[in-house]
């Protein structure tokens, strides 16, 4: 797999080439200004056919502007975008026919009921199957509330209806901005499984923006990390972790008698030259910080000689930790 760091000066020539897939979305050196402020600054990335890409970054990073440019409703000042083989600026209606979009607010009509909203958008998207709105209402668990005005829906219900709206015309590309915000755990699980199923079974290409990074980990294959409109890095999680290595942190559930106060840090040597820092956590957990993940087996072996080890969880390699390393690194640059 490829991995490319693009700090400060991304450009077409440095665009990562997709391996083993056709690029359905191509964003090449795109810039968008609002007045003096650059919302997107030379952003480049590609999304392969059927891939689920996580577009992540802090608030104001340019994610929503990027999604809007992909839809052809915001015009870039520079650069080139292709979505499903069309230029959103020139062939916007063709792009919008091919994509399903879920915006942060879901943009539903509050004075229409759930089913009326779907029927209305079915007309706008030219959906010929008259059962499609009801089918989606059932699929997203809204059958009981389908005749209730959307203004009376909870945030989670609106989000589910918004997702149903995005899927009405069976799009080949989905652009989802915060699809799980406001959902309860069961709703989050359902939405993420549906996204994964659409990609797996129907080959739908998905771009997902979210702040809840651990949720993305379960569905996304690749990520583009953006900040201040620029791509800080892109690649799979392991590629991002490798390119931005951090200390190896493991949480061990053990009855090892570590004699330290809660919240204080113990610096020690596990023998054989394994230096570590340890911190006691609640529920018989000890957090060890090691120089590298190669030291983990040695540490576990050492602990097992004198105590029982119930579980070992590797931390610091998850998306959230890698993301913080990346964005904090960018702050320091």
């Amino acid at each position: 797999m490829h991995q490319v760091r693009q700090v400060n000066s991304p450009g077409i020539s440095r665009l990562p080439l997709l391996q083993g897939g056709v690029a359905v979305i191509r964003v090449e050196a795109v810039t968008k200004r609002y007045g003096e402020q650059k919302a997107v600054d030379g952003l480049s990335f590609q999304v392969a056919d059927g891939e689920i890409l996580g577009l992540i970054g802090p608030n104001g990073a340019g994610k929503t502007t990027t999604i809007r440019m992909l839809c052809g409703v915001v015009r870039p000042d520079a650069g080139r975008i292709m979505v499903g083989g069309y230029d959103p600026e020139e062939q916007g209606d063709k792009v919008r026919s091919a994509i399903g979009v879920l915006t942060e607010t879901a943009a539903l009509y509050p004075n229409l009921s759930g089913i009326e909203n779907l029927r209305f958008f079915a007309d706008l998207y030219g959906v010929d199957d008259p059962h499609r709105p009801d089918q989606l209402i059932d699929e997203f668990g809204l059958a009981e509330h389908k005749n209730k005005k959307v203004g009376k829906y909870s945030t989670g219900m609106k989000k589910r209806l918004g997702l149903a709206k995005a899927l009405l015309h069976r799009p080949s590309i989905l652009l989802l901005d915060e699809p799980t915000s406001g959902l309860d755990p069961a709703g989050i699980d359902m939405v993420l499984k549906e996204i994964a199923r659409l990609s797996r079974e129907k080959g739908v290409t998905v771009v997902l923006c979210s702040h809840v990074l651990h949720q993305l980990e379960t569905v996304c294959r690749r990520y583009v990390v953006i900040k201040r409109g620029q791509a800080l890095a892109q690649g799979t999680l392991s590629e991002l972790a490798k390119s931005h290595p951090g200390p190896c942190v493991v949480e061990v559930e053990t009855d090892y008698p570590l004699e330290i106060e809660k919240d204080s840090v113990f610096e020690g040597d596990a023998g054989g030259g394994i230096g570590f820092q340890a911190k006691r956590l609640p529920n018989a957990l000890i957090q060890f910080t090691l120089p590298s993940r190669d030291e983990v087996p040695k540490l576990v072996r050492k602990l097992s000689q004198t105590a029982r080890v119930y579980s070992v969880t590797l931390k610091g390699e998850d998306l959230q930790s890698v993301y913080f390393r990346l964005t904090e690194g960018a702050n320091n640059e």
Partner: protein, 277 residues
């Protein structure tokens, strides 16, 4: 043009009128005031013209003299009493500019709601993200404002005709409304002024952020009507059939020009960036 989408958007917009009291209340109050209360006031003032109201009659007679010779003046002259002349003249002549306020206000209220309302409710984004062309969206929005405005105006006209004839029957003893002058007014000026109000409001809506602001600016459209009323009362500009035909034709030309300008200027990205936060 995507006919299915046009019908869906127009139907949705018309439905939203009934859901919003800010929209339907002014649309109902004004026609009732103009169609029921105005003829009642006219009859009362005609009755009051009996006895020691010589001054009032002088004013009316002065206006009558300034009117050019027409079928209207001939009919008015054929009445025997001042009371009859006043009643006929007020109903058939003075109230016509008042009546134009109905399509103007109705079209303004609905058109502001259909554009600014989308923005206020955060739904414009969803509409612009669909594969429906700007031309289709615009056509649907204009239709959604035009149809209710015309229906309200025509219903008001029928209601006004019934009330006018019922109230004046004891004085005139015959069907006295409408005079032929009302034909160009109802068939040409009313639709033309509705479209004009809608198009002007589309311009305003693209530049304001709230329904109230749009409504206040849109209300400025009443000013030319006030000028016509003053002209009518002072005899400066008399709305006879020829003047009404001319007004209707000029408004229709203005509508066509405005329509061409708006359709050429309709830009999804510009609208999105100016309307969606």
């Amino acid at each position: 043009m995507n006919r299915r989408a046009v019908v869906a958007i127009a139907r949705k917009d018309i439905k939203s009128i009934t859901a919003n009291i800010q929209v339907w209340l002014p649309m109902l109050i004004l026609p009732i005031v103009f169609s029921v209360l105005l003829p009642a006031v006219v009859v009362l003032s005609a009755r009051a013209s009996q006895g020691d109201t010589a001054q009032f009659m002088q004013v009316i007679s002065g206006m009558l003299e300034r009117l050019p010779e027409s079928s209207l003046t001939r009919i008015i002259s054929s009445f025997e009493t001042d009371q009859q002349k006043v009643a006929y003249m007020m109903l058939n002549y003075f109230l016509s500019p008042f009546f134009l306020m109905i399509p103007l206000m109705a079209a303004s209220t609905v058109s502001i709601d259909s554009f600014v309302g989308e923005k206020e409710r955060g739904t414009f984004e969803g509409l612009l993200l669909t594969p429906v062309s700007m031309r289709s969206i615009f056509t649907a929005k204009v239709l959604a404002a035009f149809l209710p405005a015309i229906v309200v105006s025509l219903v008001s006209f029928v209601l006004f005709a019934i009330c006018a004839n019922v109230f004046t029957w004891p004085i005139l003893g015959r069907i006295s409304f409408p005079h032929i002058n009302w034909a160009p007014l109802v068939l040409l000026v009313m639709p033309a002024i509705s479209v004009f109000a809608i198009l002007i409001n589309v311009f305003i809506s693209a530049r304001v952020t709230t329904f109230q602001a749009g409504y206040q600016l849109g209300a400025l459209l009443v000013l030319p009507l006030v000028a016509i009323m003053i002209g009518q009362f002072t005899g400066f500009m008399l709305l006879d059939t020829r003047v009404l035909l001319a007004v209707g034709i000029i408004l229709s030309i203005l509508d066509y020009v405005l329509l061409r300008i708006i359709v050429r200027k309709l830009d999804r990205a510009w609208l999105f960036e100016s309307q969606v936060r």
